[in-house]
Symmetry: C2
Subunit: 126 residues, 2 copies
C-alpha cells in the first residue's frame, strides 16, 4: 500500500470520528506534537486541546466533513496532502466548502497528521 493509500485510510478514520462526533479518538489521528491551524482561531496543540477543539467543532452541529485529496507529495517520512473539503450540518445543510493542506508524518509505521490547516473557499460577505 502506498503513502497516498495509507493517508486515504487515515482520512476514513477521520471522517468516521466526525460522523460519530468522537473528539476522544481525534488525538490518535495526530502525532503527539501535532499542530492544528484552524481558521478564525489560534493554533491548537496537545492531546487535550485537540480533543477540546474537535468537540467545540461538533457543538456547531457538524456531523459530516468530506476531505477530498487532490494530491499527495511524498517526502520520505513526511507527505503533504492538498485537497478540498465540504462540511455539513446534521440536517444535511452545507455549512462550508474549503481547501485543506495537511503535513502527514510516518509515526512508527502509522501515517498521522502532523500539521493540519484549512480555510473556506466561500467569499466573505461584502
Amino acid at each position: 500500500m502506498d503513502v497516498a493509500e495509507r493517508i486515504g485510510e487515515a482520512n476514513e478514520k477521520f471522517k468516521e470520528a466526525i460522523r460519530t462526533a468522537d473528539g476522544d479518538v481525534m488525538p490518535s489521528l495526530y502525532t503527539s506534537d501535532a499542530v492544528i491551524l484552524p481558521p478564525n482561531a489560534d493554533a491548537v496543540t496537545g492531546e487535550e486541546a485537540i480533543t477540546r477543539y474537535w468537540n467545540s467543532f461538533f457543538q456547531l452541529g457538524i456531523t459530516d466533513a468530506r476531505p477530498l485529496t487532490r494530491e499527495v507529495i511524498v517526502m520520505g517520512d513526511y507527505a503533504l496532502e492538498v485537497g478540498e473539503t465540504t462540511v455539513y450540518r446534521d440536517d444535511g445543510t452545507l455549512v462550508d466548502r474549503g481547501k485543506i493542506m495537511v503535513l502527514w508524518k510516518n509515526d512508527g509505521g502509522t501515517w498521522k497528521m502532523h500539521r493540519d490547516t484549512w480555510n473556506s473557499s466561500v467569499p466573505l460577505p461584502q
Copy 2:
C-alpha cells in the same frame, strides 16, 4: 546558509513585493507549478493568475504583510514553514492577523513557495 535562512531571505523579497505592491515580481517567488490556497477564494495556480491574485490583494489597500516563521521542517528538497502573519493597510491599520503554512521547494538552487496557504486567527463575528 541553511534552509531556514534561505527561506528567510525569500520572505524578505516577498515582504518587499508587498510593500511596493509589485504583483509582477510575485511569480518569481513561486515554483512554476505552485498553488496558492487563499482564504475565501478558490485555489490559484499559474504565473498570470498569481500576479492577478496579488494585484487584487493590493487593491484592498494592503501594503504591509509580516510573515513570522515559527518553524521550518526540512525534508530534502522540500521544507514546510509554519508561522504567523500580520497584515496592515497603508494607513497602518491592522487588517488581519493569521497563521501561515507554506511548502517550499528547492527549485534549481533557489527556494521558492510551492504550496502556500494561510488563514485568519480572528474569530468570526457571531
